[in-house]
Amino acid sequence: MLTYIAKRFVGMAVVMFIVLTVVFVIVRLAPGDPAALMLGPEATPEDAMALRERLGLNRPIFVQYASFLGQIASGDLGSSLFFNRPVLDVLAGRAEPTVFLSLFSLIIAIVIALPIGLVSAYTRGSLFDQASVSTAMLAASVPSFWTGLLFQQYLATKTGWFPVAGYGGPDADFFDRMRHLILPSIVLGIVNSALILRFSRAAMLDVLSDDFVRTARAKGMSEWRVVLRHALKNALIPIVTVVGLTFALLISGAVVTERVFNLPGIGSLVVGAVLRRDYPVIQGTLIVVAGLYVLINFLVDMLYLAIDPRVKY
């Protein structure tokens, strides 16, 4: 068990090392002088020179790479060129809407998808099953920003049921801010429910044909007990995996959804950073988000241990 965890940590470290290398390469892919690009057309050559000096861009590429790795390893993600503050601070300041948007939409997705997936699997081939599978496929095909715009128009602007956009202004209290996340969460939740529905249906189908389910029925156990106690419990493992994997999907969705609803989250931050060529922010966001993904999938694996006594590492 401990050896397994140690091995996993080594694996995670290797993956993070590659993540850092990829990020380093991406930022240096930009053709031309990054310092001049970051400063824009009005900058003087002296400004560019000073920035190059500050960012260490005039040192050999391997020296840059080594100092980049060292800097990240010490927990320093550099400073934003636009905000003139450490990237970690900037990210922390923008994390709240993204974190809660992702969390709420994940909850909404599970609440929609899990029961439908279970009933679908249980009534395989029925009209209900066909309808839910088709609807899920449709939901996965609609661009989330388009759904977002339509929902915004018809459930907020025209009816006033939800706040139209924004995060409640600078004085908004926590409750007010969360109120602004309801509609975006519904949009993102619907999009993400498609994948969870398909997985929970497939997992349940798999389990329902297992011997122990037949045995449970043969023992005369009540049907709902068979389904909920025996089948669902065993179908949970693949379902938990997909919930872990949904994280990447949630962040991608959040980037676009934040833009629709004008939420000051990580997504808006990155899009703004791209338009302003604020490379340290792009770089820092990629590293933090990829790191979280690696960590969450590790935690999901650990969760298996708790759910399934057969899994031993």
């Binding site: 694996g11 290797v14 993956v15 993070m16 590659i18 993540v19 990829v22 990020v23 991406i26 930022v27 240096r28 892919l29 930009a30 053709p31 395989r124 081939g125 496929m137 449709l138 996965a140 095909s141 609609v142 661009p143 989330s144 920003f145 388009w146 715009l149 339509l150 128009q153 602007t157 189908l205 990447a248 999907l249 962040i251 991608s252 980037v255 676009v256 833009r259 990155v270 899009v271 791209v274 338009l275 060529r277 792009i282 966001t285 990629l286 988000v289 990829a290 790191g291 993904y293 690696v294």
Partner: protein, 286 residues
Amino acid sequence: MADTTSMPMEASLAKVLVQRRAVILGLVILAVFGAAAILAPVITPFEPAAMSVRNRLTAPNATWWLGTDEFGRDIFTRLIYAGRVSLLVGGGVAIISSLIGIALGLAGGFFRRLDGPVSRVIDAMMAFPDILLAISLVAALGGSLINVVLALSIVYAPRIARVVRASTLVIRELAYVEAARALGVATWRILVHHLLRNMVSPIIVQATFIFAYAMLAEAGLSFLGVGIDPETPTWGTMINTGRQYIDTAGWMILFPGISITLCVLALQLVGDGLRDALDPRISKEL
């Protein structure tokens, strides 16, 4: 696919596919969009950039089938020309990411020494959310059509690589591969003729889904204003500009959205049908 032994399987595959109404529906939708993209100048009398200021923001009518935009440009015409771009991006990404993924996957699956590094690289690339990685790559490369295709190909190549690696690990151990090695067949010949040819189907299934994801991602990038340059009409940019006029000219975002949805849905229907047809275990369940 010249050897006769695989013929019966492929014939039955085609039959299974045609028997599925969903697959036919998907293929028909794709054919319509494909034909419209190819025949664009024949179908519509207008130019995609032709403005008619007097007719700006006109609701759909007999002349302007799907209405006009803020410059009086015909939405139907722009929709068709934008479809060209969207389909080109989707198709281009499906092909290029497959090529990269095949090379990576074969290398990792066949050469044991490379398996560790290749697998870790796949893991690392999959740790980035697709839109986020694509935005960063486009930011670095610059927002042209080719760079968007390239960026999305890099984003989706690991998915193909994973499928190819897994298939390679299985096929590598089969007797005929061992026989070919014993006969002294060149490694590249084994890779192409014995391995690659036997995993064409799972690659096509995965590439079909990547086609769909890439279309969605491209639309997302264009919507965010960090994709292909905004002068080129794409479904994403049409929605992005249309959102300012959503109160008065809802048709501006309605039709591009429907187009994206239909194309992505069609690709998923075809991909699903292919997968089920190739996996007899699943097709029995349905």
